[in-house]
Subunit: 109 residues, 2 copies
DNA sequence: CCCGCACATCGACGCCTGTCGATACCTTGG
DNA sequence: CCAAGGTATCGACAGGCGTCGATGTGCGGG
């Protein structure tokens, strides 16, 4: 999907008109959240006990194939919404509230 | 794009895991924001003097054709992010902060 | 050392969506 | 009543993206 890391790029939508570049950057960030599987993965990880979840426990609950889940986890990680830690042959994920906050702040009213 | 009106559907992402339906609904809402032209249109309207903007003044700043702008304004309006009022042959738009707030709340940390 | 498992990558397929030109609709001004 | 301009709709096209099966990669256990 070609998604650079989510970083604060602009004032809230309703407080200043976006220029072209800001709009492209923000849209790319929201695009990461514009998929039901990614939203579920993000919420599953954020709500896992200990604040972290093993990739091996994420395939079944979202009802998609392993390659598809891996693909979505990559997109979330590249965007900075998740961070990945490899432990042996398992990948562990934690949510990154800072990245979520960037998007929330853009929607401040 | 087939986007029902944005309405509060679920607790914040990081406070409760989304079920399938909630995820589909939230993703559809974020999809509306996942386009640079729509983000610019929304911010242009929200920042217009008087809080409202005429459609005739929105085509040029976003650099797209009139049918394309009309299409995006329809999507924003159907989603409830904009409201439209027809005055004579002009369409006037206002932002709906309530709809924006629904999405912001879903990203609460 | 080899097998098994978690995970990533690849290639292919189908659908969705952003875009435009052409055109139809509708309201106002003359 | 006609002409003009703002807007919506239509049809078509191209590119993007989610999905999967098959396969590659790397680590750990026996």
């Amino acid at each position: 999907m070609d998604t650079p890391t989510i970083t604060a790029c602009c004032d809230p939508l309703v407080e200043a008109a976006l220029d072209e570049d800001e709009a492209v950057q923000l849209a790319a960030a929201f695009k990461v959240l514009a998929d039901p599987v990614r939203l579920r993965l993000l919420s599953l990880v954020a709500n896992a006990e200990g604040g972290e979840a093993c990739g091996c426990d994420l395939t079944e609950p979202v009802g998609r194939s392993q390659p598809t889940v891996s693909h979505h986890l990559s997109i979330l990680t590249e965007a900075g919404l998740l961070e990945r830690e490899q432990r042996g042959r398992w990948a562990w994920y934690r949510a990154r509230p800072e990245a979520i906050a960037v998007l929330r702040d853009a929607l401040e009213v």
